[in-house]
Symmetry: C2
Subunit: 225 residues, 2 copies
């Protein structure tokens, strides 16, 4: 904290985009979305405020750079045999990324679509193309999958993150589950009945069951016509 003066003489003063994005990710991981600040970022890079704005237009660009750094294009280049397996592999990649970086889900969901989001759309879509020849069905299935992956991933990542607390991750889920069990049965019959089901929530298998559900729907639709 106090020794930020002249540890390194002056090997290279340049602050490349890579380092900015990496530092932004560190800040986001450590202190959440509100922890990412131009001033905090400049302090961490041992430079003055206003430097980042020279490289990136604004805060949206900064979040975008952090997102791209954490979910690189290569990660989505899966090819696991069948289209279904490939889609599952991509889904797991995104799931794991959101799980490791809880801020990522909200960032991806935020309209308008960024490059990263369009890239996931493209990669999933290529496999969907192999499952049905109809454009309308391809579009519906791909956007449905994308919405599910981002949405469910965000929800599950949130409960996972509570593991730093006293109880651990299983305990956090148990607590939420107990909360659902205390709901008024007259007003919340369904949610209450899902309390036990909620305990298995948050693992990859649960998540992948939703992916399979959508793919089953695509198959069923195809069969009927």
């Amino acid at each position: 904290m106090g020794d930020a003066s002249v540890a390194e003489p002056s090997e290279s003063r340049a602050v490349p985009r890579d380092r900015i994005a990496a530092a932004a990710v560190e800040l986001l991981d450590a202190h959440g979305e509100s922890g990412l600040t131009f001033r905090a970022l400049a302090r961490r890079l041992q430079t003055g405020p206003g430097v980042i704005q020279w490289h990136l237009a604004n805060k949206a660009g900064l979040l975008q750079a952090a997102t791209a750094a954490v979910l690189p294009d290569a990660m989505l280049d899966e090819d696991a045999g069948t289209p279904r397996e490939t889609i599952r592999a991509i889904a797991v990649d995104v799931y794991d990324a959101i799980d490791a970086h809880p801020w990522l889900g909200a960032q991806l969901a935020k309209p308008p679509w960024q490059d990263t989001m369009l890239r996931i759309f493209e990669h999933i879509g290529r496999s969907i193309q192999a499952l049905t020849p109809q454009f309308a069905a391809q579009f519906s299935a791909t956007s449905t999958l994308l919405n599910y992956i981002i949405g469910a991933g965000s929800q599950q990542a949130r409960t996972s993150r509570s593991e730093t607390a006293t109880t651990g991750r299983a305990g956090a889920l148990a607590a939420l589950s107990a909360q659902w069990e205390c709901l008024n049965p007259q007003e919340w019959p369904f949610t209450r009945s899902m309390a036990t089901q909620l305990r298995s929530h948050g693992d990859r298998d649960e998540f992948l069951a939703g992916v399979d559900l959508i793919l089953d729907g695509l198959n069923a639709t195809r069969r009927e016509e």
Copy 2:
């Protein structure tokens, strides 16, 4: 602006929660999420800053009140015969609400789940319960539907909102569609092929096709076991 002094003598100085929520919705509709400010809200209610904090704990509570005001419980109390029709009716209600209030989508998607989100979960789940007896399938289907409805609704609302611009809503979609057509065919084969499909994007039928897809998946899964 200048005549905010003593138009009304002093019939009732109380500023009830209802008026706060209603004014917040007006502000959000007019100027977006960044337009909702404690100071702007107090000015609109012709009172001093700091009043709102006495009624609502913080800004999260303010957004929550606005969300509940715009998506009341009664709106979800649909019963349109079959479970599928009921679910479609609820989905359309949420879709229309997001379309009318573009800030709503991001608000609902934001974790953790608020009362409003849990209520939609409950209402959809009750109909899903009628479609399959398995708890695991009920949970998957309900959360998949919810993620799709919020996610797809947000995306579609965004493109709808561009109608205030020069071109109108169809023009905005055409512009985005043209943008997709200009993508590199080597790098973006799928997205490019969806360019024409994108034009039909944003209407209720397109949106409901995704809901049907998920319900078809639930049926198919049930048949296999």
